[in-house]
Amino acid sequence: MPEGRGGRMTRAQIVNAALALGLIGFGLGAWAMDETFLVTLATKVAILAIAGAGLNLVLGFGGLVSFGHAAYFGLGGYASGILAHHALNYTAMFEWPFVFEGTTSMPVIWLTAMAVGALAALVIGALSLRTTGVYFIMITLAFGQMIFYFAISWPAYGGEDGLPIYVRNGFPGLNTLDPVQFFGLVCVVLFAMLGLISMLARSRFGLALQAARQNRQRLMAVGIRPGGVLLVAFVISGAITALAGALYADLNRFVSPSMLSWHLSGELLVFLILGGTGRLFAPLAGAGLYIALEHLLGGVSDHWQFFFGLLLLGVVLFARGGVIGFLAGGKRHG
C-alpha cells in the first residue's frame, strides 16, 4: 500500500494492531469464560476475514470489483466437503490412475482447495478481464451464478441440500474439534494471509497492481501489461478465498450451495466497504463489525434487520472510508 505521510501510518497501524489483538483477545477471553459459542463466532469472523482478504487483494488494491467471489469460497468449501465425504464414507473419489478415497487432513485439503480456487480464478479471470467497470462486476456475477446453479442441480454431492461433514477434519498435532484450537489455527492462517497481502502490496507487483486500478493506460505506457498483473492477482485472490471456504466448511461441518450464492459475494463486498476499501485490515474490521451487530441485534428484536440497515447506512454516510478510515483517518486507497 502507498506509504502514508507522517503520523498517519502509525495511527493506521495502531488501529490494525487493536483489531488483531481484539480478535485474539475476544476469542481467548470467551474461551476462558467457557463461552464456547463466542469462540466459534470469533472463528467465523476470522474465516470471513480471510475470504475478504482474498477479495481485498483484487478489489482494494487492483480495483477489480468481483461480485462472484462466493464462487471461490464455495469451491474451497466443496473441495473440503467432497474430500471429507469420500474419506468418511470410504468411497472412492476416483479410481484412475490410482484409487483415491479422499482425505480428512487439513493441509492436504487446504492445498487442494487453493489449487481449485486458483484454477477457477484463472479461467474466470482470463475471460472476465476483457471487460472493465460494471461489466466486470456483472460477468463475475454471471460465472458465480453458473457455478451456483450447477451445484444446486448436481445431485451427487447433495445438490441444494448440501453435504454434511460429520467430523471436523484434522490437523497434525492439533485437536481441531476443540473450538479454541481451531480458532488458533484459523487466526494463524488469517495473519499469515494478511502478512502475505501486505508484502504483495509493497512489492513491485503491488505497485503495478495499484497502478492498474488507477490508470491502465499509463501502466501500458510504462511497459507493464495490466492484464497479466490483474490476472495474477485474481488467481492469488481466488486461492486465498478458497482456503477460507475450506475452513468455513470445517467450521460449520457442512457445505451447501448457499456458500456459492451471490448473497455471499455481496456480503464479502460489504465487509470490505464497511471496513474501509483498500485497507489491509478492512476485511477483519468489516467482518467483525458485521457479525457482532448481527449477533447483538438478533437478540433484541425480530426486526433486527431494519435497525441493522439503519446502522450500516449511518456508517456509509457518516464514516467515510469505512471503519478504519474513520478511526485511522488519512487517505483512502480506493
Binding site: 442441480s153 441444494e160 454434511p164 460449520n252 457442512f254
Partner: protein, 357 residues
C-alpha cells in the same frame, strides 16, 4: 430435572410464515401444559444453513440444551441434525424429514414427528391412481426435495406420466409451463411448489382457465398461504397427514385454542409443532432427560394424544400414520381444507429398511 429445548426455525425472510406457525403451535402446547420444567429457547435461522449450524452450536455449547427442534427446511436439517445427534442431543423434527436421515443416516436420537418428506407425494400418487387419472403431468422445482417429490409420486402412481417438468427453484413466472400443460392433454396435474412458488403458480393457473384437476401435497395449500392464492385454490385436492377437521378431541381442542390465542386458523406446520411439543411433554412425564436411554424409550412409545388421531413411530423413528386427501373449500368467507378421502393408511416410508438401528 428441567428439559432445555432449543428451537431453530425460520422467522424472517421468505418462508417465515412456516417457522412462525411451527413456533406458535409448539408454544401453544407448552403454555397449555404449564410444565415449569420445560424451557424453550427460540432462534431465527433466516433460512440459511450456516446460520442454523451456528445456532445449534450456540445452543449445544453455550446453553447446553437437551433437545433441538423446529427446523423447517431439509437442507438446514441436513446441516444441523447429524452433528447434533452425534453430540448426544435429541432432535425432534417438526417438519423437514429428508430421506437421508430416514434411511442410511438414521440415528437413535433423531425422531421425525411430521412425516418422511416423500409421504405426502406418495399419497398424491396413490390418490391419482385411485381416482383413475390415466395420464398425469407432474412438476416440481429442480432441487433434491423436488426430485424426491416426483419419485415419491411415481412410486405409487400407476398411470402414464404425460410429462415431467422441473422448474427453477424460486421461479415465479409459470407461463411457459402452463402452456406446456395445456398442450399436453393430460388428465390431471400434480405439482409440488412450496411457498411463494405455489402461490404464483396457482394464480396464473386460474388465469389460464384450463379445466384440469389439480393434485398436490399440502405444502402449497396449507392454511398459511391459502388466502394469498385466493379463490383459485378452491376445489384443489391436496394430501396431508393432518387437517383441521380430523375428528378427535385433541384436534378440536388444538384448533380452538390456536384460533383463540392467535386469531387465525392453524396450518399443517402449527399442528406439527403442537404434536412435537406434546410428544416431548409425554416423554418428560415418563423419564428424566439425563437418562438418555430411558428418555429415548419414552419418546419412542409416543404416548400422547396426537391431533392426527393414531400416532406411532416406525423402526426408523418416523411416523406410521394415515394420510388424507383434502379439498380446498371456502368456509364462512375463509379458505380452508376439508378431508375428502384417505389416500393411505398406516403408511410408514420407503427408507425404513435401509436404516440399521
Amino acid at each position: 430435572e428441567p428439559v432445555k429445548v432449543g428451537m431453530i426455525t425460520t422467522l424472517s425472510g421468505g418462508g417465515a410464515s412456516l417457522g412462525i406457525d411451527t413456533r406458535d403451535g409448539f408454544m401453544l402446547a407448552v403454555e397449555k401444559a404449564g410444565n415449569p420444567d420445560l424451557e424453550v429457547h427460540i432462534e431465527d435461522d433466516q433460512r440459511k444453513p450456516e446460520v442454523a449450524v451456528q445456532l445449534s452450536d450456540e445452543m449445544i455449547q453455550s446453553e447446553d440444551v437437551d433437545v433441538l427442534t423446529g427446523i423447517v427446511w431439509s437442507n438446514l436439517a441436513m446441516a444441523v441434525v447429524p452433528g447434533a445427534v452425534r453430540q448426544g442431543k435429541f432432535y425432534l423434527s417438526t417438519n423437514a424429514a429428508p430421506s437421508q436421515l430416514a434411511g442410511k443416516g438414521c440415528h437413535e436420537n433423531y425422531f421425525s414427528v411430521s412425516y418422511q418428506n416423500d409421504n405426502l407425494h406418495e399419497a398424491a400418487g396413490q390418490y391419482a391412481t385411485d381416482e383413475g387419472f390415466g395420464r398425469m403431468f407432474i412438476m416440481a422445482p429442480n432441487y433434491p426435495a423436488g426430485q424426491d417429490s416426483l419419485s415419491g409420486f411415481k412410486r405409487f402412481y400407476e398411470g402414464e406420466v404425460a410429462n415431467e417438468v422441473y422448474t427453477q427453484l424460486g421461479q415465479t413466472d409459470y407461463a411457459a409451463e402452463i402452456a406446456q400443460i395445456r398442450d399436453s392433454g393430460a388428465d390431471a396435474l400434480f405439482f409440488f411448489l412450496p411457498g411463494g412458488m405455489g402461490i404464483s403458480f396457482m394464480k396464473q393457473w386460474a388465469e389460464a382457465g384450463i379445466d384440469m384437476p389439480v393434485v398436490g401435497p399440502a405444502f402449497s395449500f396449507s392454511q398459511d398461504i391459502l388466502p394469498a392464492i385466493g379463490e383459485a385454490a378452491v376445489g384443489v385436492k391436496n394430501t396431508a397427514q393432518w387437517s383441521k377437521d380430523i375428528d378427535n378431541e385433541a384436534n378440536a381442542a388444538f384448533v380452538a385454542a390456536f384460533e383463540e390465542k392467535y386469531d387465525r386458523l392453524p396450518s399443517l406446520y402449527a399442528a406439527q409443532g403442537y404434536d412435537t411439543a406434546r410428544l416431548l411433554l409425554s416423554a418428560m412425564e415418563k423419564a428424566d432427560v439425563s437418562d438418555a436411554d430411558a428418555f429415548r424409550e419414552a419418546l419412542r412409545a409416543a404416548e400422547f394424544d396426537s391431533v392426527r388421531g393414531d400416532f406411532a413411530f416406525g423402526p426408523n423413528q418416523h411416523p406410521v400414520q394415515d394420510i388424507y386427501v383434502r379439498e380446498v373449500i371456502s368456509e364462512e368467507g375463509q379458505l380452508t381444507n376439508k378431508i375428502v378421502a384417505t389416500a393411505m393408511e398406516d403408511r410408514g416410508d420407503a427408507y425404513a429398511e435401509e436404516c440399521s438401528m
